[in-house]
């Protein structure tokens, strides 16, 4: 059974997903970071595939992308690193990345490889829903990969319904109209948006991302969704870290508890 489906069958609250950029801070840190996220008690690992032009990301994740590329990270390299990840990592693993590197690799070959190494889902921020339905859905389904779409406060109710229909796995609620890492804290306006979504009774679980950085924002987000995603704040932590394993564990535990 797909690990994302299995997770949300048993856990409906305070689901914590952690994003990091593969190849950052050092090229060979990928597996170590994944293992630490798991042992710290998070629920989903989002592995970012670095790209030269990440237009939905703010400075923190842009920098981590550039450093990872300078370190020599590529999709091929990442797949080599993740080849045996299922020997040590049991959490659901989601790859997050922009479309171009994946299209150059070949969507079919990419999805096949994802299934082979045990990837459970994909988040491709610049893949529009129509293109997904026309060209890729059948391939994702064939390799048992869940597809997550983003929604923002500007997304219309009609489109949210469509996205819910065509998503599986979970929906990524961008908490404010912003790029990643641009905001901290949660405003009343955002809470109104979270409540609006909650009242729609969508079929998919909802994780709230953008602006989540510590225990308080995680708890607030979890009140209105099934959990939250932390990206930029985590990248900042590991950028400064001298001891990845212990810093990741203490950070994630401070968020959860």
């Amino acid at each position: 059974m797909n690990r994302i489906d299995k997770l949300f069958q048993t856990k409906k609250e305070r689901v914590l997903s952690i994003y990091f950029t593969a190849g950052f801070p050092k090229l060979e840190d990928t597996l170590l970071i994944m293992q630490a996220i798991e042992s710290a008690g998070a629920d989903i690992i989002e592995v970012g595939v670095p790209y030269s032009d990440p237009i939905a990301d703010g400075p923190t994740i842009q920098d981590s992308n550039q450093i990872a590329l300078d370190n020599g990270m590529s999709l091929k390299k990442l797949f080599e690193q993740l080849q045996d990840m299922r020997q040590t990592v049991s959490l659901p693993v989601v790859l997050m990345g922009y479309l171009n590197p994946i299209i150059q690799y070949g969507m079919e070959a990419f999805c096949k490889k994802c299934q082979e190494i045990g990837v459970d889902g994909l988040i491709l921020p610049d893949l529009p829903m129509q293109q997904y339905l026309d060209e890729f859905k059948e391939i994702f389904d064939r390799y048992d990969l869940r597809n997550t779409f983003l929604i923002s406060p500007q997304t219309s109710e009609k489109r949210i319904r469509e996205i819910d229909t065509h998503s599986n796995g979970f929906i990524y609620m961008v908490s404010a109209h912003s790029i990643t890492g641009a905001r901290t804290g949660i405003s009343e306006e955002q809470i109104a948006y979270f409540q609006r979504l909650e009242a729609m009774n969508l079929k998919n679980p909802r994780l709230i991302g953008f602006g989540i950085s510590e225990s308080e924002t995680f708890t607030t987000a979890s009140k209105y969704g099934n959990g939250a995603i932390i990206g930029s704040a985590f990248i900042k932590k590991i950028k400064e870290s001298q001891d990845l394993k212990s810093d990741i564990e203490s950070y994630i535990q401070s968020v959860i508890h």
């Binding site: 030269s52 237009i55 550039q66 590197p101 912003s178």
Partner: protein, 392 residues
């Protein structure tokens, strides 16, 4: 037939590959732009400003000495005489009226050489709209006079400090800022790039260029159709404008001059159709200079306006189906062509435009052929580059 389809594709190229956060903005524009453009009210304001503010129609000038030198009838479409010094203002006038009709209060734009930034700052001043321009930190250094022009016009100029710090990165930054301010802000993209409907909308605003060429040539030569139209291509807005009404007139040859930089095999080039492969950048599928892993490659051209790793999707399509001939012009040859035009016709062209002049050496034609070169911009902004190059 060259025509955009209902999903925003020209053949294999185009589309709208954008983060969901931009979907409402793009959708609002896509649903409304054709209808707004078609209203008599819009047309009256647009045409009125093109005439009285921009100074259109621009002349179609018979370049007699250049013609004699090359052995053809060469006409120059004088977009360099537009207010602000280049064709870019045709599009910004159109888009600022569009932004007003959509109820937007704020304008953002990217710029490379600064021509589009100046043209945007100009129309914002004209309409009293708040204006922020994103510009690569490297370009800010090499196009200082244009930066100051934007500031004089009341715009805020924000440096893009990521990546190569040029046009590509300025575009990334403008898109990010649009994501951050989706409701009250309109993004005026300066070329025929970006997600659908931008490439088509910008091409339609620029199509006034070939619209005028047709009637002007009819007056001078008794035919609407030249044998050849030449334009330089970075993203490709001046070329799209010069080609637009000739896309589907097969006897008119379309020639696009790309920037070869230090040479197409030098690793320092911006010749996208030679070096590029199909990929996605800035929201559309197009030809793109990239690594095997799909990372976008930093281009190089001596002209900031051609220093872009992609090309508008319509041009990728024209290349793909063989409708346009693409030639690659090296930095040195473009600079010499700039001097040549200065001395044969008394016109100092923008270095972008000088690439199109040099194309005369790279294509075949006979002495009765009528050739129209789109003289997209003037060289005032490039004096520093001319001076540093020094070969005159």
């Amino acid at each position: 037939m060259i025509k955009i389809d209902e999903k925003g594709f020209y053949g294999k190229f185009g589309g709208a590959y954008i983060p969901e956060m931009l979907h409402p903005n793009i959708e609002e524009l896509r649903e409304n732009y054709e209808q707004i453009m078609a209203t008599p009210e819009f047309q009256k304001e647009f045409r009125g400003l093109l005439k009285d503010f921009v100074g259109r129609p621009t002349p179609l000038y018979f370049a007699s000495r250049l013609s004699e030198k090359y052995g053809a009838k060469i006409y120059l479409k004088r977009e360099d005489l537009c207010h602000t010094g280049a064709h870019k203002v045709n599009n910004t006038v159109g888009q600022i009226i569009m932004a007003k009709k959509l109820g937007k209060k704020r304008i953002i734009a990217e710029t490379g050489a600064g021509q589009h930034g100046v043209a945007t700052a100009t129309v914002c001043a004209l309409m009293g709209m708040d204006c922020t321009i994103y510009m690569g930190a490297v370009d800010i250094q090499r196009q200082r006079p244009n930066v100051e022009r934007m500031k004089i016009l009341g715009a805020k100029v924000v440096p893009a400090t990521s990546g190569s710090q040029t046009l590509k990165d300025a575009t990334n930054e403008a898109m990010r800022q649009w994501i951050n301010n989706p409701v009250d802000t309109h993004y005026i993209i300066g070329s025929v790039v970006g997600p659908h409907p931008y490439p088509e909308m910008v091409a339609r605003f620029q199509s006034v260029i070939s619209e005028e060429i047709k009637w002007q040539l009819k007056e001078k030569e008794g035919t609407e159709n030249p044998d050849v139209v030449i334009a330089c291509v970075g993203g490709g807005s001046n070329a799209a404008g010069a080609f637009f009404h000739y896309y589907n007139v097969p006897q008119v040859r379309l020639v696009a001059a790309e920037a070869a930089g230090l040479g197409v095999t030098s690793g320092k080039s911006a010749a996208t159709t030679v070096l590029g492969t199909s990929g996605i950048l800035h929201g559309s599928k197009t030809l793109l200079m990239q690594t095997e892993d799909g990372q976008v490659v930093e281009p190089h051209s001596i002209s900031a306006g051609l220093d872009y790793p992609g090309i508008g999707p319509v041009h990728a399509h024209l290349f793909d189906i063989g409708r346009a001939e693409f030639v690659a012009v090296e930095d040195e040859d473009a600079m010499k062509a700039g001097i040549e035009l200065s001395r044969t016709e008394g016109i100092i062209p923008a270095i972008e435009t000088a690439h199109a002049i040099h194309a005369l050496n790279l294509i075949e034609y006979s002495k009765d052929d009528i050739i129209v070169i789109n003289l997209s911009g003037r060289g005032d902004k490039d004096l520093d580059t001319y001076i540093k190059w020094g070969g005159y």
